[in-house]
């Protein structure tokens, strides 16, 4: 399948005049069209830095990120906004804007200086709201929505931006299990039926294993591994990436088990 984003020998980190801090290095992989990829890894492995580098916010130390064959760090912000949209962990306080108006802001890169929406814009906005199943939320203001509902609206906004790629950073963090499942299903639909390439970083291994087409597994200090969920489970990559004292990844059940000795200790 056609790749939309390509990472070529990508090394991320921070460069200051005196200091060079490499976080992840030598990543070669791609994000395909109509694919949902979950980026998972333990805390401190460099997920956020990698996400920021892929979305063009941060310059890489070495290597390149290509979006449809063009170096993403050479694109103008306006062009990039039409190709790539974000959903962030941060809670949004949009005052008295209604959910509809928030989704409508997704049309920002396409409207004129006054931000006037055309009929076609309205159709895209409504399509996005329908896509996330939030028709009945459209007239409510953001403070009136629950965390899950608000996240759905932010996803609809990113969808209304009509990008090729959607990048979502820990968007399921505040949500309970049913809501998380709902969001993953929704993202699958947007990828497979809506034609978007979606990259989601998450702590939620369980959900990633069940929902993702492919997984980018980023162990702390190690090389990133890419593969279908079941392959990564079976070849022991998961076990290695999340090896910590007191627990292990059980490849049979696809879940973490806490060692019995550790359990008794904690009581």
């Amino acid at each position: 399948m056609e790749s939309v984003i390509e990472l070529e020998n990508l090394t991320t980190g921070y460069k200051t005049i005196s200091d060079l801090k490499t976080i992840t290095s030598g990543i070669n992989t791609s994000l395909l069209r109509e694919e949902l990829v979950c980026l998972i890894g333990p805390n401190g492995a460099g997920k956020s830095t990698l996400m920021r580098t892929i979305s063009g916010e941060q310059k890489p130390i070495e290597g390149k990120v290509y979006l449809e064959g063009k170096n993403i760090h050479d694109l103008t912000p306006k062009y990039l906004a039409k190709k790539l949209s974000l959903v962030l962990t941060e809670r949004v306080h949009a005052g008295m804007l209604t959910a509809y108006e928030v989704v409508a802001l997704g049309r920002f890169p396409y409207t004129d200086w006054s931000g006037k929406l055309k009929e076609s814009d309205h159709q895209i906005i409504q399509g996005a709201i329908a896509m996330v199943g939030a028709n009945e939320l459209a007239d409510r203001t953001l403070p009136e929505l629950s965390d899950g509902e608000r996240q759905k609206i932010m996803i609809a906004r990113a969808f209304a931006q009509e990008p090729e790629v959607m990048i979502l950073d820990e968007v399921t963090a505040f949500l309970d299990l049913p809501r998380r499942v709902e969001i993953i299903k929704l993202l699958r639909k947007m990828a497979n039926e809506g034609g978007k390439s979606i990259l989601l970083s998450t702590h939620d291994m369980d959900l990633a294993l069940r929902g993702a087409d492919r997984i980018w597994l980023l162990p702390k200090g190690g090389a990133m591994q890419v593969g279908a969920p079941e392959d990564l489970v079976l070849n022991g990559a998961f076990q290695k990436a999340f090896a910590t004292e007191g627990m292990h990844f059980d490849s049979q059940s696809g879940a973490f088990k806490i060692h019995s000795t550790y359990k008794t200790l904690s009581h």
């Binding site: 962030l88 399509g127 459209a138 639909k189």
Partner: protein, 366 residues
């Protein structure tokens, strides 16, 4: 993709029409606000120690002869400049407040609360002092220059304060920032007192005259400077409405939509300086108006959409500032009322309401 669109077509059409109603249902208020501005305008010109009937006002304004010769003098020399200053001041301070609230994500931000007003005053005090030291004879020869130097001083003071506040805002929370702004204001006031100690008395008097905010100190010769700068500030603000709407989602989202955050901040803050600086230079410190008018507009129109708020704030600013000034100039028998006393009577309760409302929502909402 296709089948999704078709299955969801029916509920969509209803949600669309409902949305359009929700967003534009209060637009009928605009003609009412325009009418309100005109009514208060006529009252401002008509009411005072001398009462002038509407017919007399209109005749004077179109340049005709009125029954009482004194009327035209009162209107043209005293009340009209004062009223125009109130209209411009109210609109300018309101728009500056709206921009600062959105930019700093702080519902209690405003030209006064962030220390801009005090910065402008300090700038003017410095210009007055500098003139005393250098010898104001040169400036006095060219009245226009002296006018301009005061405005330039005020704007420079605003810029300095804003630079400090932008830096501080990176490190402290919204509430702490407001306290910082108010402290900056006190600091500026202290500095002004010290500076004025070194100037001669007559100049101190000029300064003390507008140390208390008032629209009555604005005369015709000030408008050639005040009006063009205010217009540039207002037009500039209007051009930023789309960007300010994106800012409501936070800087990170705004950036991801292709917005240049740095440029938006710079232009918006420049507009705030153009709006707050000259008004403070000529009217003195006008408290509360810049802070409360955006909230009145949001409450009235029930939206945070800047495309609606911008004209709403201009009209409401003109109405509230004129009304406050009118209240000051009612024919009181025993007292002389201060404009800021009236502003506090309107403003303080609104601020209290904003604080309580936001507490209920847990976190700040603009």
């Amino acid at each position: 993709m296709k089948n999704i669109a078709s299955t969801l077509a029916t509920p969509l059409s209803t949600s669309k029409s409902r949305f359009r109603l929700a967003s534009h249902s209060r637009l009928f208020l605009f003609p009412i606000l325009i009418a309100g501005t005109l009514v208060v305008f006529l009252l401002e010109l008509g009411i005072g120690s001398v009462k002038i009937p509407v017919s007399g006002i209109i005749t004077t304004l179109i340049g005709g002869q009125v029954a009482e010769a004194m009327w035209s003098t009162i209107i043209l020399e005293l009340r009209l400049p004062r009223t125009l200053a109130a209209i411009i001041g109210g609109a300018a301070l309101g728009v500056a407040g709206l921009q600062l609230q959105t930019l700093f994500k702080n519902p209690l931000a405003g030209p006064w609360a962030l220390g801009l007003t005090a910065g402008a005053q300090l700038g003017v005090a410095m210009v007055v002092t500098a003139a005393a030291v250098i010898g104001s004879s040169i400036l006095e020869k060219f009245e226009f220059m002296s006018n301009l130097s005061i405005v330039a001083g005020a704007m420079l003071g605003c810029v300095l304060v804003l630079m400090i506040m932008v830096t501080v805002s990176k490190y402290v929370s919204t509430i702490t920032m407001l306290i910082f702004g108010l402290m900056l204001g006190f600091l500026a006031q202290g500095l002004i007192s010290v500076i004025l100690h070194f100037t001669n008395q007559s100049q101190t008097k000029i300064y003390a005259g507008w140390n208390d905010g008032s629209f009555a100190g604005v005369y015709w010769e000030h408008f050639p400077i005040l009006i063009p700068i205010a217009i540039v500030g207002l037009v500039g603000s209007w051009l930023m409405t789309k960007s300010l709407n994106a800012f409501l989602l936070g800087e990170n989202y705004a950036r991801s939509m292709g917005l240049s955050v740095k440029r938006t901040r710079l232009i918006t803050l420049a507009c705030a300086v153009l709006l707050a600086g000259p008004v403070t230079a000529y009217c003195g410190p006008i408290l509360f108006l810049g802070l409360i008018i955006p909230h009145l507009a949001r409450g009235l129109f029930s939206t945070s959409d800047h495309r609606i708020l911008m004209p709403a704030v201009m009209l409401l600013g003109a109405i509230v500032a004129q009304a406050a000034d009118l209240f000051v100039h009612l024919p009181w028998e025993k007292h002389f009322l201060h404009l800021n006393a009236v502003n506090a009577l309107i403003g303080a309760p609104v601020v209290m309401w904003v604080i309580l409302k936001n507490k209920k929502m847990r976190g700040f909402e603009i």
